[in-house]
Symmetry: D2
Subunit: 336 residues, 4 copies
Amino acid sequence: MTAQATSADVDAVRRKIETLGFRAHIIPGAQRTAIGITGNPGAIDPAEFQDLNGVAEAIRVSKPYKLVSREVKKENTVVSIRGVPVGGAAVAFCGGPCSVESREQILESARAVKGAGGQLLRGGAYKPRTSPYAFQGLGEAGLKMLADARQETGLGIVTEALDVENFDLVEEYADCIQIGARNMQNFSLLRRAGRARKPVLLKRGISATLEEFLMAAEYILSGGNYQVILCERGVRTFADHSRNTLDLSVVPAVQRLSHLPIVVDPSHGTGRRDQVHPMALAAVAAGAAGLLVEMHPSPDNALSDGYQSLYPQQFAEVVRDCSAIAQVIARKQPLV
Amino acid sequence: MTAQATSADVDAVRRKIETLGFRAHIIPGAQRTAIGITGNPGAIDPAEFQDLNGVAEAIRVSKPYKLVSREVKKENTVVSIRGVPVGGAAVAFCGGPCSVESREQILESARAVKGAGGQLLRGGAYKPRTSPYAFQGLGEAGLKMLADARQETGLGIVTEALDVENFDLVEEYADCIQIGARNMQNFSLLRRAGRARKPVLLKRGISATLEEFLMAAEYILSGGNYQVILCERGVRTFADHSRNTLDLSVVPAVQRLSHLPIVVDPSHGTGRRDQVHPMALAAVAAGAAGLLVEMHPSPDNALSDGYQSLYPQQFAEVVRDCSAIAQVIARKQPLV
Amino acid sequence: MTAQATSADVDAVRRKIETLGFRAHIIPGAQRTAIGITGNPGAIDPAEFQDLNGVAEAIRVSKPYKLVSREVKKENTVVSIRGVPVGGAAVAFCGGPCSVESREQILESARAVKGAGGQLLRGGAYKPRTSPYAFQGLGEAGLKMLADARQETGLGIVTEALDVENFDLVEEYADCIQIGARNMQNFSLLRRAGRARKPVLLKRGISATLEEFLMAAEYILSGGNYQVILCERGVRTFADHSRNTLDLSVVPAVQRLSHLPIVVDPSHGTGRRDQVHPMALAAVAAGAAGLLVEMHPSPDNALSDGYQSLYPQQFAEVVRDCSAIAQVIARKQPLV
Amino acid sequence: MTAQATSADVDAVRRKIETLGFRAHIIPGAQRTAIGITGNPGAIDPAEFQDLNGVAEAIRVSKPYKLVSREVKKENTVVSIRGVPVGGAAVAFCGGPCSVESREQILESARAVKGAGGQLLRGGAYKPRTSPYAFQGLGEAGLKMLADARQETGLGIVTEALDVENFDLVEEYADCIQIGARNMQNFSLLRRAGRARKPVLLKRGISATLEEFLMAAEYILSGGNYQVILCERGVRTFADHSRNTLDLSVVPAVQRLSHLPIVVDPSHGTGRRDQVHPMALAAVAAGAAGLLVEMHPSPDNALSDGYQSLYPQQFAEVVRDCSAIAQVIARKQPLV
């Protein structure tokens, strides 16, 4: 739609799409609204829409992913997590422990994040664990502790939903629902996320191609939830100096093809505390919209992932140095 | 337990385990019964059990996976799918289309499998698809068509459960429930499979290590379902002459560490029709307990995976040649 | 050329090619002779050659590799190593230690290979070692020991040339010159191998694509040496249950695109003694023309690669079981 | 040695080492001189050296690589290429075309590099090419053109030696000799580089582990050449949005284990022009000592790698933005 299009214009287009038996996806932007169409069995003639009031352009999307594509929406999407913009000019910093372990631990973490200049708190109440015998998270009790930490600090909460069964509960407490790397192609979970009213942070699978990553996001958007943040967290390779290989070139690659914001998790992406700071800086320099960093008030006593969690002071250095980098490089919308 | 142990002996051990507050897993074998213990927070003194009637040995398992380990059960497990043994001396052949497309298509497929000497029919009623806009399977209608094919041919049915939501339905119709590669670490689904009364075929994730693969199986066994078949279906590498890289060395590697049978899927493992026959033979030569092969009555018209599906005649050649190989090599239990 | 073409016909074609300023490659086959052309800056009109005496077909090769392509030569190439055919109906077995360590060690190895029914002896006199401080091989003294072993047993010798500097010496003693995986794209070495009068065994690089592998062979053929055997020896992946991942699907993939024979090295391909036997069988079942297997008279005392070397008795079992597999499967030329 | 050690002290240690029959490696640093020992068949008692004049510490190196290790030399090594320091506080920028194509092309390139603020000129006179039929470089004529460009602009020259045969010639013209990724384990070439009097830039092999990378450098240092710069240029993975996957976490990983400087080549590392700028910034943010960037005066007419070569204006933006990043982050020696 043109920047001047009225909501009546948008509505007219929506009705026309629905009359044809298809689904209309109204994706608002800062300047212009984009409207995607799904459910059409074959190609639609752009001429059907070209001349409606307020329509700037009718484009046939050439990619297998539609709604996530820059062809549908040229402007960057900025996702708001409890008022914190992700995808705009500023870098969004999300820190916190791997797992919520106790009220005191998560409150301390939240204070440290806040004190360092972070805006978002991460922490898992439901944990995907390789072993059935490992600590699986505190469940709803953990979600409540996160809510308490939010109340005290005002930080937005990012926490993972592992399955459809616990999704309602997570949606109730979280400000942003994380879908983990192992679940990137859990299509039932993606469909449920498509019906959620909260933003979703979708992690790239450990061996997902860019197209598979975008198609997973497409599942969520096609369900009507357009508030999706992508997250690079390392891929599996032969390299053994880091637990995973952080693939930062996916940041500009995503930005070229999609309007969705992409953030980076250097903690899982490297799996080693001493690589988190340099790779966090690298991620911001590469253009990441934000960072997801594991930080623990006492990493040596963490129930999970302690070896890759930063000390609070290290997290503060990450925020400080990344902010400095963000200021000296022009963080502008990529050419389209 | 010794080969002479009575069911009263087994029961006494079970009660002792439960009295200690742990869970007993009674895993029957051809010669001897193995009893695994889970739920213990720390190490248990083997002396607690050593002197009970019928106990041959009390072993502390050294691996992170317990019940799937050969330390717990030395004998190979033979899983029976509707009377067809998987893991014994004979190779089990499972063929059929990627998706159930119609009653006629699946009946024709079943007759072709039967005619070629196969014992099991595969076919998806629920399909995991990279794109939300692709054909997602016929659902329950597909399951019913599979049941009809079983009734006509007597073949056992192997079909996939995609999520907890449709698991009950799949369990009702299937003789063996497949868990796909993308779901290998869908822990909620694995836990549900652990409560199933039907055998489970667990496919290796596209970038799963052997330990992660065995830990995923451990989720199922720890839930009380000991009828698990592992399946190698190719891993993701840089190589581009095949869609995936079929990693046959995982067959002897699994056999060394686990008592569970392992089968191979050369169709997904290569993604190219012309590589299926040589790799099927290779899989049997490497010791695979069975094969899962895509075959379609008319591959060129298949709704999915046609390019990797065999023609019925080619499937018959696979069964014939693999059977010949199985006869000339000694298919014996690996040394433990 | 047609099967009836005379050597005068072949010569006339050769002269015509040379008159045009190009290079003619006369590649003999069991039935027909193929003539490749290189050195042409652009496409040549097939009509130039179509009507010459004895010409069956003039084909423009569509692939980046020319002389190795099945388009140039439809028949399988059979390479003869001191009279042992590689690429024909029988499987060629090459066994021996990683390094030549002493006269006694290599003689014992040769007797064991011979006794087991093998035809070729392997053993390195020049060793590529990751560390500059590791044993680098016995050099010419080692080559002489190999020659002695040949004299006693009649086995053909396969040994590696590491660089252009020692190539002359290796060529003098060897019956087949190996180019190792690390040198697959050492183009100076490939060019030198193209001028050799002995067959060359070219190992696939640890992360080489099929096209890169065939292009490396093309370097050798384009230099005028058409006696090239390809060898799969495992690629590098994330998998950790074997040292490398043996990629057997490259066997049918090579056979589809090239007339050159391909053999498999399950010792380096797995890096573990207990996986060598099953993967050797798998390789032959997949269609490999031969096997390269590390065997040591006393693996536990080997100076290199002892953990992956077979005991002599195990090598004999590999030869016996692989021969049995070769007999039951039709080893026929792939369709072209 | 202590910071106060005299050259007589160093000499006394050297003589003692040589008297014992070993080789002494005197590696100077800004503050202190390190002396490495190689050629010892087993462990040496540190007490042998502890009490000599000027000896600060005698350390037994625990790693398989010795001279490249930080255990031998704690201070960062700064390599000087024609007066340009690599490994110090400033980022070194090396730009230029893939291949030297003509006098005019390389002069124009050199002027563009100089104008943008770069200090070093790259360009290949000998090119490793996958195909024997592709352009292989201008050879000595190309080296002379590079020398002319140096004379006009004062830029130091970085160019590749492909093999031992042409090494002398490259050494004569170059200010820094590049060893390419395919040759990282060409041990004869590494040994020749160990005898060179010029600095060597060693690229990481496409699937080399960190240990293999450092061991390759060890070959050069053990030959007596301590002026080695490491270079990350991407590894081969399944990912297909870039030609290789640039593995930036190897930068901090190298810095932890070795005193050698590491630079990054984002051009080969991504293989796509649009990813070079973001990944160059990321490399500097991660701590790279310098950048190697392909730039061509007219990329669309380049004989090789045009699609990944920057336009001169883009190269200037890389230099400008990377310099800004280097200024805001503290580029300090990593903790040891």
